[in-house]
């Protein structure tokens, strides 16, 4: 195996339906391909490896896609999260107005006190903009969140945003633990909950 992993982090992506949460994680968004099972069944979570200032970090990224239609997500979804990405669609004021609800839910259920939050103003390439950049920035400042604007065409911006979020988490003492032993294929010590993976 190569270099050791510094830590593993749990990151949530939340926001209203249709704001483009899932596409933030895709390298190609306008590339049409055959109907695939992943689109039909839905994605549960993703593991991604990120190098931040020479530190190799593994992220478990949870996207609420679909579940937000049932409104309140289960508390276990929030538990243990070190970072949260809140997304709204700049061409829909309603999705911006709902951010307060999402923040409330996050503050109610997230059990890490210093969870790092980032606000993503998505779909800035759309013509009928309803929420200005200044409004987004103001909201982000008021709630001590990082802020970026994004669109399907600004993949690089999204990548940088993830790095910034992780950097901020790593700079926050007590929010993460050093995974000193690194990972290896024989490490199966993680406890299981309901027959599911241990870090859920």
């Amino acid at each position: 195996m190569d270099d050791d992993i510094l830590t593993t982090l749990k990151i949530l992506i939340i926001g209203e339906s249709g704001v483009g949460k899932s596409s933030l994680l895709l390298r190609f968004t306008d590339d049409l391909f055959d109907p695939q099972l992943s689109a039909t069944i839905g994605v549960d979570f993703k593991v991604k490896t990120l190098n931040v200032e020479g530190n190799k970090t593994k992220l478990a990224i949870w996207d609420t896609a679909g579940q937000e239609r049932f409104r309140t997500l289960t508390p276990s979804y929030y538990r243990g999260a070190q970072g949260a990405i809140l997304v709204y669609d700049v061409s829909s004021r309603e999705t911006f107005a709902k951010l307060d609800n999402w923040l409330n839910e996050l503050e109610t259920f997230a059990n890490k006190p210093d969870i790092v939050k980032m606000l993503v103003a998505n779909k800035i390439d759309k013509p009928n903009r309803e929420v200005t950049k200044e409004e987004g920035l103001k909201f982000a400042r008021k709630h001590s969140m990082l802020f970026i604007e994004a669109s399907a065409k600004t993949k690089e911006g999204v990548e940088i945003a993830f790095e910034e979020l992780v950097e901020k988490i790593l700079q926050t003492p007590g929010l993460w633990e050093n995974r000193s032993t690194g990972l290896n294929v024989t490490n199966t010590s993680s406890p299981n909950q309901n027959g599911n993976c241990g870090y859920c």
Binding site: Q36, D44, L183, V185
Partner: protein, 129 residues
């Protein structure tokens, strides 16, 4: 259901210790899936039946799903051993592995009866030095 023919030479892929010699990447988008020496080679006696990557008919119209029998896998014991990987929601007590970057799949399967065994199909990824 079609049997997959092996378009690769296993001796070039499997190390003396039965692990993957090369880096494993996504066939479609090159996403880095697995570091060398991270998966354990397994040739199953009972092939796994996994939905085909390319479905001839549209799944959304309710046509039946086409399957493929797969035999050769890299077994990984911890989700965090992967560099990049995605998991679908649970269907029939299974989660399918998909590419984290382009979501092509299934690339493999996790049976929740044995949650610490992730089966990554050798037929559905590429191997590079």
């Amino acid at each position: 259901m079609t049997e997959c023919t092996e378009a690769y030479n296993l001796s070039e892929l499997v190390s003396e210790t039965n692990t993957n010699l090369k880096k494993v990447k996504c066939l479609r988008c090159d996403s880095f899936i697995l570091q060398p020496n991270s998966g354990l080679f397994t040739k199953l006696e009972m092939s796994l039946s996994i939905p085909a990557l390319r479905q001839k008919k549209s799944i959304v119209t309710g046509d039946s799903i086409e399957y493929e029998l797969l035999q050769n896998f890299w077994i990984v014991n911890d989700a965090f051993t992967f560099e990049n990987i995605g998991f679908t929601n649970t269907v029939d007590n299974k989660k399918y592995l998909i590419c984290a970057d382009c979501e092509i799949g299934p690339l493999g399967v996790q049976n929740l009866d044995n949650p610490n065994e992730f089966y990554l199909s050798i037929d559905r990824v590429k191997h590079v030095n």
